[in-house]
Amino acid sequence: MNSIITYLQYPFARYALIVGVLVALCASLLGVTLVLKRFSFIGDGLSHVAFGAIAVASVVQLGLTTLSHTAFFQKVSFLGNGLSAFAELMKNTNNMVIVLPLTVLAAILLLRTGQNTRIKGDAAIAMISVSALAGGYILMALFSTSSNLAGDVCSTLFGSQSILTLGISDVVFCAVLSVISAGLFVLFYNRIFAVTFDENFSKAVGTKTSAVNLLIAVMIALIIVLAMSLVGSLLVSALIIFPALSAMRVAKSFRSVTVVSVILAGFSALFGVLLSILLSTPVGATIVMVELLVFFIMSIAGRFHALSF
């Protein structure tokens, strides 16, 4: 207990807690929709695409920096300055300027593919996501400037060994994305529920279901990019799906499931981050293990009591 208090006196520990909880809260919002709309495959595929996007982004960043130093761009100084400024921007935002749009684009494409019954949707998505993984790994292997390639890949797949390296800019970026995705969710809550529960009915009475589906896909992309920095691309789905599955064990209405899953996600993230600080375990994996534990507890609790509000 004392060591936790000691740690919390350092800003990096507080940042880690804030980011961890924010990310988990947002990730849990769309869990029910993802599980019930059979969109889980999109979540999984997207996280792999995001891995590829990160590799592409680091290569682009490297290329831009090198390019801006070449003789040509040194002469045409405004172009050279522009390039190095963009490279700098990418560095400062953790390459998000490239990763975010690429992932959103992939989300839209995957949604289209998933709805197309002619092509086997699942197979197509598996193909895209595995290719993104393989391509990303090759790019990282070819162009990596770091001496520790295995470490880089590992932290992209499973999250950083610790998130204690976060700066204030990461916290701000994370808070902004969280507010955007939570705000969108609250505003479109009724439509998201309606389309998740019965898309045919929604379409029949004139709701623009394709627009709502697009919104869901874009929000999933936002959340995945957000959560990847915390738990890595392989564990992202856990952060989205676990809280919803746990909440569905004890809660019986859509609203109560949503509220309960947000609360569970917040607690899991809080305990996960604290545990990982105390035990020096990887943050992402620790949070996922806590969520698994919560799931078992909720499964048992669900046998005795059901919530609906």
């Binding site: 009724n190 019965d198 029949a204 004139g206 709701t207 019986k252 859509f254 499931v257």
Partner: protein, 266 residues
């Protein structure tokens, strides 16, 4: 209601004169339905008028659900058109679809589902108004499910589920309801129950278009019958009973009989 295509039109034009004064709400004009180039229903024409109770009957796979999905604009006809008349729009049609796999263990309360019937009326706003919430309570009361408001949909009986979906449908609109096999899988008591609820809505002015497997009930409750199959029939229930059913059910024709009549569960 009138038949625009077949020769029956002439036979019964005298008898239907009176009813045709009610305004038409929905017309199918020379519809041909199907998919992948395979025709299911060819050259279907019919008109639904305000206050009608139309039963669509026909064998499995004959295209009944396809027809309903086409009327709702969920899929395009191969040729022909569906015309909404007299100011009818898709927002003014309540729909009771067949239940889907997803809904079986979906965590949603009865109140949430009934309220979602108002989604089309949200227009540009994001949240349901106080009036909509009050109307949802009223619709639950009409369907006799107000005591289930907080229950989870997945734990209800088949009959209760259908009433919830019917309450959602009338939340969407009381002007016209499209019901896709509302009594499928229900026990006789629940079936009778649902029929009387639907009949009550019809008496209070709601136009009903219903797909049914229950021929006896169709003839008993419906004002009009549309038989979908290789042959088409469209006319009043009485005409169907008198002319068409008899013709199809002559002894040598036993195998082509689309339905075995069973006593109506009342």
């Amino acid at each position: 209601m009138e038949l625009e295509k077949q020769e029956m039109n002439e036979n019964r034009s005298a008898g239907t004169e009176k009813k045709e004064k009610r305004p038409a709400e929905l017309s199918c004009r020379d519809l041909t339905l199907g998919y992948d180039g395979k025709e299911l229903v060819s050259h279907l024409s019919c008109t639904v008028r305000k206050g009608d109770y139309l039963c669509i009957i026909g064998e499995n796979g004959a295209g009944k659900s396809t027809l309903m999905r086409t009327i709702l604009g969920l899929q395009k006809p191969m040729s022909g058109s569906v015309v909404y008349e007299n100011g009818l729009t898709s927002q003014l049609i309540g729909y009771l679809p067949q239940q889907t796999e997803v809904q079986r263990d979906f965590p949603a309360s009865v109140r949430e589902i009934v309220l979602s019937g108002f989604q089309a009326q949200l227009k540009k706003s994001f949240f349901y108004s106080r009036e909509m919430k009050a109307a949802a309570e009223e619709n639950m009361r009409i369907m006799g499910i107000e005591h289930l408001a907080r229950e989870s949909f997945s734990t209800l009986s088949g009959g209760q589920k259908q009433r919830v979906l019917l309450a959602r449908a009338i939340s969407a609109s009381r002007r016209m309801l499209l019901l896709d096999e509302p009594v499928a899988g229900l026990d006789p008591a629940a079936t009778a129950d649902l029929y009387s609820l639907i009949e009550r809505l019809n008496r209070e002015g709601t136009t009903i278009v219903m797909i049914s497997h229950d021929l006896a009930a169709a003839v008993e409750y419906a004002s009009h019958i549309l038989y979908v199959g290789k042959e088409l029939f469209f006319g009043t229930a009485e005409e169907y009973h008198r002319n068409w059913l008899g013709r199809r059910h002559n002894p040598g024709d036993e195998k082509t009989r689309p339905y075995v009549r069973r006593p109506h569960p009342m």
